[in-house]
Structures are given as C-alpha cells and as structure tokens.
C-alpha cells in the first residue's frame, strides 16, 4: 500500500506541470475553449488514454496515474471536456468501437458530458464536441452531436460552454457493470478538484505571507492561518482518497466504486470549500474577475454537477431503502 507517487510518477507529474506552466498557466480572464489543434497536441501528450491499452494509442498505465495528470490539469483550470473525453474512449473500447476509441485517444475528437432533461440535452463544455456522453444509473451512452444545431447558454463559469437541444443517434452504450464509467469519471473529477484545492491553498498561503494589514502579514492572524490549516487538511484528505480510489479501480477491488464515490465527496468538499476560503483570504480582489481566485469557485460549481451531485453521491454510498 503506497499512496504517494514513485519516481516515474513524479516525472510524469513534472512533465505535465512544466508543459502547463508554459502553455496554459491559470489566468484571471476565462480562456477560450481549447482549439482542435491544442486538443490534438494534448492527445499526443497522452492525456486522453493514459489508462488505455498501448495497442489503441493509449499509455498502458492506470487510472491512478491518470489522477496525477488530472490534478495538474485541475490546478490550472485547464478548459475543455477532458474527463468526458477520457471516459468516452473507454466506453468506445468497451463497446468494441475501436476506431472511435483510437480517434478519441489521439485527440481527434472532443466528447462532452450531456444531461438529459425535459427540454432535451444540456451539453457541458461541448463547443467543439463531436459526441456526448451521458452516464445514467445503469449505463453510459455515447451519442453523436452537432453543436451547430444547439442553442448556446451562458455558463456560470465563463470558460465553460453550455448548449441545449437534441442529441444525435446513440453510437454505443455500455452497462456500468461491464465498464464502470461513472466511477472512472468521478475519480478524474476528484483529481481535478484535488488540484484545484491544492492550487487555492497555495495561493492563500503565499498571499498570507506577503499581504499586510495592521503592520503584520495576515498569515500571522489565526483567523487566516487556521483557515489555511483547514484548507491543507481538506486537500490532503481528498488527495489521498483520490489516489486510493484510482488504485482501487485499477485493481478492481470489490469496494472500488465506493472508493470512487468517497473520493468525489472528499474532493468536492475540498474543491468547493477551499475555493471559497481562498476568496475570503484574498479579500476584495478575491471576488473580482481580476484575480483567478473566483474561477476556482465557478469551476467547482460546474464540476459538482458534471457527473452526479453531492446528494446523489451520498445516495450511492448508502442507497435509499
């Protein structure tokens, strides 16, 4: 049992982190959705199939390793339907549509999450998506989608797009019993939230050392320092549980699905609460669009509705009788 990265895994983290700090550092202004060119580049970096078999262009590693990458992507609030795309590749593989899987893994297609409702589907972050993925209670369904035919709505997170309308036909459908798309998605969302919780902790902690009020750095006040201590505790709890959940899915342990839901609950709490505390620690500048702090709060809000809500997650952990 080892929840910390080994040397290879630390190298993986480093490569991703260096690429992102170079190419996609977090900004106060919401960035535009990733272009198909950028997406292709990320596919070449292996982000969409790290846990997929080598023969389909995947990385042949595990979901545990994917969580390390997604922590980094979360840390800088990288845009685009990253989680849905990774999971969609596995759905396609599980359904036997290897060609689709290969093109997704290669970064040639974006797949966005969709939620069905009375007025059709809502596509989250699907501005450039060719397909959409909906995870129901029993199965994951992959459909084609033509974004041009959907109506755009403004999203609470302006770096995320929302489209409403009708999807195209079903391309493949895989029972969760066969491939647990929900758990995979929850663990990747958790990893992104962990990265966000860590990033906001770092922002608060750095700011508390330099921002002065009443002639002292604000980090010398327990009101601030103890809030930071709670942020650190939440982030560590969520990070460790997310690693454990990733490893559990890879090992197909009997409790893997429960571990994934638990990771999501811990990471959601850390992502949401740390984002709010980070805004609080920054004071006025924290709730303006001139500092990235607010984007962690709006992104956490989106992630809290990407796969299942918190209450639905609790219901998975202890179902209604």
């Amino acid at each position: 049992m080892d929840l910390l990265p080994n040397d290879d895994e630390m190298a993986l983290t480093d490569v991703v982190r260096r690429y992102l700090s170079d190419r996609a550092p977090v900004t106060a202004a919401p960035p535009a959705p990733p272009t198909p060119e950028m997406w292709k580049e990320w596919g070449e970096l292996g982000w969409f199939g790290l846990a997929a078999p080598l023969e389909f262009g995947g990385g042949g590693q595990g979901i545990a390793q994917e969580t390390l990458v997604f922590r980094e992507l979360g840390r800088v609030l990288l845009g685009g339907p990253l989680v849905a795309t990774v999971v969609a590749a596995q759905v396609a593989l599980a359904a036997g549509d290897q060609q689709l899987a290969v093109s997704i893994i290669a970064g040639e297609r974006q797949v966005a999450f969709a939620h069905s409702g009375p007025s059709g589907i809502t596509l989250i972050d699907g501005a450039c998506a060719s397909h959409c993925l909906e995870i129901g209670d029993h199965a994951a369904v992959l459909r084609s989608v033509d974004v041009a035919e959907l109506v755009e709505r403004p999203c609470a997170d302006l770096s995320v797009t929302l489209h409403v309308g009708s999807p195209g036909p079903t391309v493949c459908e895989v029972a969760l019993d066969h491939y647990d798309a929900r758990s995979h998605a929850l663990v990747l969302v958790s990893a992104a939230l962990v990265g966000m919780a860590e990033a906001t902790l770092e922002q608060s902690s750095s700011y508390a050392k330099v921002r002065e009020q009443y002639g002292k750095p604000i980090g010398a006040y327990q009101a601030v320092s103890h809030r930071c201590a709670d942020m650190a505790t939440r982030a560590d709890l969520a990070a460790m549980q997310t690693s454990l959940a990733g490893l559990s899915l890879d090992a197909r342990t009997p409790d893997a699905a429960m571990q994934a839901v638990t990771a999501y609950l811990a990471a959601l709490d850390a992502g949401v609460a740390n984002a709010a505390d980070n805004i609080q620690n920054h004071g006025g500048i924290g709730f303006t669009i001139e500092h990235p702090a607010y984007r962690y709060a709006t992104r956490a809000s989106v992630l809290s509705r990407l796969v299942v809500t918190k209450r639905a997650a609790l219901d998975l952990l202890l179902p209604p009788v």
Binding site: A156, E212, Q213, Y214, Y221, Q280, G284, Y294, S301, R311
Partner: protein
C-alpha cells in the same frame, strides 16, 4: 418587552401596504448596473413624490420624522410587496444621509438631504484603499490644505455606483502625525470634479458592481469637511455603526422572501425520478432551517431597534447581525444552487419572480468580505462587546 404596535405604527403599516399594492412597478430591476441605477432613481423619486421617502429622517429635511420602528415597518411592507430595494440610493439613504443628519452644518444638510431623498443625487462611498482594507485607518489618500481647498491625491476601491454618483463620502488623510486614527477627515466629494478617474471592476457574477477611483490633485472646498478636520475616524465609525445596525434590514427581509421563493421552487421542481424536491427530507429540512434562520434574524434586528430606542447611538451589536446575516446569505444561496439543480450552471437562469439565482449565488461570495470581513466583525464582537484583549 412589547409586541403591540402603536396605533400610529398600525396606521402607517396599513397606509404603506395600500399604497405599495398599487404602485410597485411590474417590471423587475434590470441586471445591468446602469439600467439598475436608473430604475432605482425612478423608484426613489416616486417614493419622494408620494411622501414615502426618508421614513425616519427629520421632517425639516424632507423626511417623515417617524421612528426606526416605522422605518423597519416600511422595509417589511415594501419587501412584502416586492417593491424595489434602495439599490443605488443605499449609500445616500443609509450611510451618508444619517451621517450628515448627525454631524453636518445646517447649510450642508439643507443642500444635500432633500437631494438624497428625491434621488437627485446618488452618493457613493470612498473608504477602502488597495492597502487599507480591514485596516481602514491605514488609508493613504492624501489631502493637503491649500488655502480654502483640500488637494486630494490617491486611490479608493470597492466604490459602488461611482460612475452614477454625484457625491461621495470620502475619507482622506489630512495629517500624518501621531496615531493613524487621527489625521483622517470625512469629506463631501463631488464626483464630477476634474482629476477624478473611475475604473469599473467586474465581480464574479460578471457585473460591474464596484469601481476603483483615482484622484489626481482633486480640489475640494475645505468647508466640505464634515465633523471637523482630522476628526474623520470618529465620523466614519458612527457611519459604520449605522450600516451594521439597521441599514441591512431591507436586504434581510428580502432574504426571508428568497427562502419562501426557494420553498416554492422546491415544491415545483422534480428530481430525475420525478419526485418533488420538497419530498426529500434532507432538502426540506435544509429549507426549514433557512426559514428559521431568517425569522430569527428578524428578531435580532428588532433587538437592535429596541436598543436604539433606548440609546440612539449604534453600538457594536450590529457586528453580530452582520456576521450572522452575511453567512446566512451564503448558506441560502448555496442551497438555492441545489434546488435549481441543473439550472445552477446557467448564468441567466431565472427562478420564481425572475430572481437571478445564479448571479446572486456568485455575488454572495463578497458578503463576508465587503463592509468589514467576517474576521473583522468577530474582532469587533470579541473586543468591544466581550472585552477580550487585542491579538
């Protein structure tokens, strides 16, 4: 202790209710800030024209000369009727106005108070600075006396409606000797003077609720100082006292209404399995808790009014109301995101009565920061109410 309204309070309530029933505008307040300010001005002017402006303001300055209780009755009735909130007139009506009433010269009062009540002039606040937030007394915007003028240089921030305001309650440093609390002056600043530059700041709800204001050798007549040169800290404290006491009453009553709207929404909204959200014991009890919390908040505010009826100077108790209220707003707005469910992703989602639930949620992040952070409120409670030693 006494619950019974006086006959005149009852009469006031009936009259207000009757008038509001036919006069509240149909169209909701616009979301965009300039349009909202125009809407606020129109409403305030209508109130003035019909004799409802300045309920607790002295009659000689155009008010109704009634008690704080009647002021609270007005807030209750106007929120009940879903009338507009003070909005752009908030600083004038609840900050600057009361300060002028207490401390300004007769000339200043005669000039400014009716204009505030008639919404002829919008006021804004010029207190905080980039390096003087919680530590407000650390402000550095300098005002040098030059003949019978003050020459102001510096920068303010978190100024609401700076673009629309005619006047500003401005705190400037007029002396840098001795304790930082001395040497501050409270000045009536005309926002149209040369040398003032305004830059709107957009907050996370994507609206420009605040501005930065820059002062480059802005010349203000020295007679615009209120309460005496270098005595501005005391003036500002009184002002903050007003804010923390009852100025938030209208917003508190509106929050109670939002909770009822949410309960309604939870009855109307179904989850994926077709069950109404209100049937979920967990959601229902969260809503019930919010309902209790806004009711108790009302009692807490009545407590403040009761204290002010005995000692007409706002004490530190307002910090308890503010601490409780601002955290409650955040709790209610977070719960709203659960109730509107997938609507929570849609920035323009409208709920019952056209409420901007998502923008309200986003804007609520500011509540425990602006007007004194929750940490500062706790410092005030610990120090001034409980007498605990300073940290």
């Amino acid at each position: 202790m006494d619950l019974m309204p006086t006959a005149s309070e009852e009469a006031f309530r009936s009259a207000a209710r009757a008038w509001l029933a036919v006069n509240v505008p149909d169209q909701p307040r616009p979301t965009e800030v300039s349009a909202a300010a125009a809407y606020d001005v129109a409403w305030q002017r209508k109130l003035f024209d019909h004799g409802w402006a300045g309920v607790s303001w002295p009659k000689e300055h155009g008010g109704l000369g009634l008690s704080l209780t009647e002021q609270v009755v007005w807030f209750e009735e106007s929120t009940r009727a879903r009338a507009p909130q003070p909005g752009a007139n908030f600083i004038g009506l609840s900050h600057a106005g009361p300060t002028l009433i207490a401390l300004a010269s007769e000339e200043q009062k005669a000039h400014h108070l009716p204009r505030i009540l008639r919404a002829d002039s919008i006021w804004c606040q010029g207190f905080s600075e980039p390096n003087a937030g919680s530590d407000l007394a650390g402000l550095r915007t300098r005002a040098v006396v030059d003949g019978n003028e003050l020459v102001v240089t510096g920068q303010k921030v978190w100024t609401s409606f700076a673009v629309h305001a005619q006047y500003q309650e401005l705190l400037v440093r007029t002396s840098s000797e001795g304790d930082k609390h001395r040497g501050i002056s409270w000045v009536i600043g005309d926002m149209r003077l040369p040398g003032i530059e305004i830059r709107p700041i957009v907050t996370m709800d994507q609206m420009a609720h605040f501005c930065e204001v820059f002062y480059n050798d802005v010349r203000i007549p020295i007679e615009n100082v209120v309460g005496g040169l270098n005595n501005g800290w005391a003036v500002a404290l009184a002002n903050l006292g007003f804010e923390r006491a009852t100025a938030l009453t209208a917003a508190q009553i509106e929050l109670a209404q939002q909770v009822e709207d949410l309960i309604m929404l939870a009855r109307e909204t179904t989850d994926a399995s077709g069950r109404a959200l209100i049937e979920d014991d967990d959601i229902r009890r969260c809503l019930a808790q919010c309902r209790a919390d806004v009711m108790a908040l009302r009692a807490m505010t009545y407590g403040i009014v009761s204290r002010l009826a005995r000692v007409p100077i706002p004490g530190p108790e307002g910090s308890m109301v503010r601490l409780y209220f601002t955290q409650l707003v955040q709790r209610v707005q977070r719960l709203a995101m659960d109730v509107i469910a997938d609507g929570a992703l849609d920035l323009d989602f409208k709920g019952t009565e056209g409420r901007d639930w998502v923008r309200n949620f986003l804007l609520s992040f500011k509540d425990t920061i602006s007007g004194g952070t929750k940490d500062i409120q706790r410092n005030i409670i610990a120090g001034r109410i409980l007498g605990l030693p300073r940290s």
